[in-house]
Amino acid sequence: MSSKTDQPLVIAGKTYQSRLIIGSGKYKDFAENLAALQASEAQIITVAIRRVNLGQDKNEASLLDVISPETYTILPNTAGCYNAEDAVRTCRMARELLDGHKLVKLEVLGDEKTLYPDVTETLKAAETLVADGFDVMVYTSDDPLVAKRLEEIGCVAVMPLGAPIGSGLGIRNPYNIRMILENAKVPIIVDAGVGTASDASIAMELGCDGVLMNTAIAEAQDPVLMASAMCKAVQSGREAWLAGRMPRRLYASASSPIDGTFF
């Protein structure tokens, strides 16, 4: 009998069957992105907000023509923002662009080399956005106190990094993620750092509510196959967490009985 009961993933009042969130950056083309999205079974996909290219062909398809906001939950991000003001501006543009859609992924970066979150600016932006009626999913460091503070501000999900964005280094500090999970009352989603399927499973085995990734899929040799692998990894990790793993032992414990041996 499982010691934990499965609760669906609910973000800002909406229930999701999939606990995997994927990005739409770094794909060869929209078709590959869509194929990966379908293989991943993700229901939420992040997008960036950027200036239109004024010289662009008006008949050229845009991302949202291919990945429909009617079918998927579009999660606009504030990637590229290095202060609260730019992040808030980006979210407001995104809300207008998506007809009043309130769900955003807030990320305020501190430095180009590490892409580590600037926590001070992140807290400031989160306060403004929550007061302005946004449902904020927030990318942050794996600091348990900051995670709690972001929850208290009213963020609908807190998303600590596993490792730097695009690094593929995996979950570098599982103990911090565990501390964050112990105190959390909102979904905790590992955002950034996943490199391969086992990393996603580790995040889920720790008890995370979901995993967000972009590069691990988009930069795989076969992104569509990796998307499928990630789908299964997240599900396996979740089931393993629900099942409750055996305790670690330093020494062996025989699986075959000693009784009845004939030698």
């Binding site: 990005g23 739409s24 950056g25 770094k26 794909y27 992105n33 992040t46 997008v47 960036a48 907000i49 950027r50 200036r51 239109v52 004024l54 008006k58 845009s62 991302l63 949202l64 579009i74 606009p76 991000n77 990637a79 501006r89 407001r92 543009m93 995104a94 207008e96 662009l97 998506l98 964005i165 695009g166 990734m213 972009n214 590069t215 988009a218």
Partner: protein, 66 residues
């Protein structure tokens, strides 16, 4: 009269609304959002919002990102 659109200077012949500018730029139908001097212009105001000399316009769309 001159305005700045997405960081590029553009001369304007005369009075123009946001909607007329978008049509000139062939952006009339796309899923975009517009900022006028740092303030969001709701879609419902595209046809009435007048542009003035020195105005700054930002036009954005959703693109791939993680």
């Amino acid at each position: 009269m001159q305005i700045t659109v997405n960081g590029e200077a553009r001369p304007l012949a005369g009075d123009m609304t946001v909607q007329a500018l978008l049509q000139t730029l062939d952006l009339g139908k796309g899923r975009i959002a517009v900022e006028h001097n740092g303030e969001i212009v709701p879609r419902s105001e595209f046809s009435t919002r007048q542009l003035g000399d020195g105005d700054k316009i930002e036009i954005v769309q959703a693109i791939g990102g993680g």
